[in-house]
Symmetry: none
Subunit: 234 residues, 4 copies
DNA sequence: AATGAATGAGGATTCATTCAT
DNA sequence: TATGAATGAATCCTCATTCAT
């Protein structure tokens, strides 16, 4: 019988006293959930597994989160905030007007990676919306709206050919694109074996590449459309 | 104990005898699963529920499908085939350089609807790939590849600015887009109530509209790109 | 809807905390399984029934045992260990050489009882060997081998006419005999009623009596055989 | 996809008219069950499997047997009758005081084989006694009693040292022995792998050999006992 | 007599959540 | 605060038996 390094790890047993330590423990749990998402699909992640990963007792999780879904909603909240911070910073670095390719590159980096982050976003809508309190759901959507609106405006500043509201539209569209590509990536045993079959290359898509080119084309298309019917409000 | 109207309904007791009637019953089951998809999210659909919806006994389902997953794989297969038929027919109706708007409209109709059909496609990759036999998975992907390739070529004929392989790429991209938008549509109680909150209009997206405009812009972008670097093979 | 006395009983709600109490609870479960074996045949014992008998929730059983089979494997392990302890002690009490009748009596008490213990042994081989991990199966057989070998040697010391290895052979043979007799004992309603029919006395065997006489005759036979061809190694 | 020879076989579709043909079909079913017993353990044999093996519809089985258990009870009845016929014939061939070794050999051949026949006998008592009508159970036990009594007397004639009733006792004991040894033979995957582990040779018993020697020793023991306290009734 | 589609009770097992310690 | 034992509803699936054809 082998002993994995997990068994060697000391339990987190210290009590979290004070706001600061409790915040740290909360983040510790989120980090554990995040790491699991790397290796496991959402439906296969049990609270037991999260607890084990976090080296905490199952019950402890429920001291920090009301339900399993709220764990992942909180995780999504954090990730999205960070992501927007990153994108906003990079957009602010750009001149106005900016090169369309540069903006496309920045946006693509947002959801263009086939990683756990995108995996989480992919399941957010739909899966997360159950067993989540109205307040938690509302708070999340509010955050999302605020950030989307702000970044959308930033976008419209850097790409003047965008009409009012098209900044947000671009963001939503690229988000949808990222989520959609994620779903198409094989995760299962059978799926992988099928993709290894000759002729199936068509499905061995690189989400990054396709996202990148699609984002660029989309922006170019909007630019071309704008050239034909310019925004009257500007 | 309350008695729902379900308990009042007479069971389907007629026996499916002969290939034809068995085919019909099989379709009846698929239809039930399809209808449930309208009101329920995939993970929440139990075989029990499908049976109830179909007014059949649980065991009967297993006479027609080996596992729960194969039910939905079969459903997806049917829907996809029909969808491609529809699109192919409409594309064939188009002249050989066709109007970009017309093509965009046709393609949008494919995955642009926020209905159960798209919902199913959205979960196909990932969820369906487990508990499905290798053969069933392979057969499904083969069908998909065949249809994608063919329709992709059709597309390249109608839109000559598309380079080799870009037809399929467009289809995959729009599929991803449709799937992504679907995920963003609220399904749950909480989700709906949140969206009814003031200020949340931003999320009350109409997938159809957004898909339509995104598809058009995407194609226009590709056209513009092609104008700059024409396909050498043509 | 009727309410059985079961529903009246208070659930076991106390928590088993600490190694000692958990060991106790584990034994409590085994005891419940053991008791059920008295009234029910193995295949008819569901985990549900074990849980009810133990006044525990179904899920609790799975905290202590991975599968249904491991419950009964554990039970068998315990019983066999105890049984061998008892026999070994009594054999050690005997002089060497011992009276053949005394040894037969000791051995008969091992598997000669038509009780649940023997019933369990009767199903061990075959039924238990599925859904049991390789390690668990191996561990069990190792235990059995160790005890058999030791007790076999003890036997050869007490009965010097036994040749090398015949001690174990005697044990295996008597085990088989006990198991076989168990099978012949009626358990069911119909079986019992049939045996109550006139003329069926022949089948109203007393396993204890038959085992006792068979064991004695077997040993006597071996003694007689040894008298003809003595063990060269001694 | 490969096609096994089974698929090639023509279905048995002819209607069985008349007593004779119905008897033949009944035997056909029993034969199928018997063959399955060779490859599968009793609990894993479904009526579906029997029907498939017999190339009949499931429902047809129920025209000939009321329950699954009655199928195997009937099978046991046939096999036991044949077995007794064989033994009786061989015993009648023996001179009136016969050699003890010869008789032991004859009896051992009865249940000493690790084949499906013994496998069936091993499960008879206990498994078969449920879901069997009182009449069927009674009929079976009557048959058994009649044959046992007769063969027991035959035995007492050939081995004059046997006291009244000991013939039947010997038969029952050897039956128990055979059944018990059968149980000890590994059937499962895990069981087989465990037995292939070093040191487990002890369990790799050959039922035939052990039965043979045990039967002989038993009879010798009875002879020795008889020499000490002769049967007063003879 | 034969068929095989339909039934539905019943099985083992999982897991989010609760709560006594 | 933290723990993890206990819960029990829910899941997918099997299979002996029935019965319309």
């Amino acid at each position: 019988m082998t002993v994995s390094w997990h068994d060697m790890e000391p339990r987190v047993r210290k009590r979290a006293v004070g706001v600061e330590q409790k915040e740290a423990r909360r983040n510790h749990i989120l980090r554990a959930a995040f790491d699991l998402l790397d290796r496991t699909r959402y439906e296969d992640i049990s609270m037991n597994a999260v607890a084990r990963e976090a080296r905490l007792a199952k019950g402890t999780l429920y001291l920090y989160f009301k339900t399993k879904e709220e764990v992942f909603l909180a995780l999504a909240t954090e990730l999205i905030a960070k992501e927007f911070n990153r994108i906003d910073a990079r957009l602010l670095d750009q001149p106005a007007p900016a090169e369309i390719e540069d903006v496309a590159g920045i946006l693509t980096s947002m959801v263009g990676r086939a990683d756990r982050k995108t995996r989480l976003l992919a399941i957010l809508h739909g899966v997360l919306e159950r067993n989540v309190s109205f307040d938690a759901g509302l708070a999340f959507k509010h955050l999302l709206r605020r950030r989307l609106t702000y970044t959308g405006l930033l976008l419209e500043e850097r790409l003047p050919f965008l009409k009012d509201g098209e900044g947000v539209e671009v963001l939503l569209t690229l988000h949808a694109l990222g989520v959609g590509f994620m779903q198409m990536v094989a995760n299962s045993d059978v799926g992988t074996r099928v993709l290894d079959t000759p002729g199936m290359d068509i499905f061995r898509i690189s989400p990054e590449t396709m996202m990148g080119s699609a984002a660029l084309r989309l922006l170019e298309g909007m630019q071309a459309a704008a050239a034909r019917t310019p925004n009257r409000h500007r």
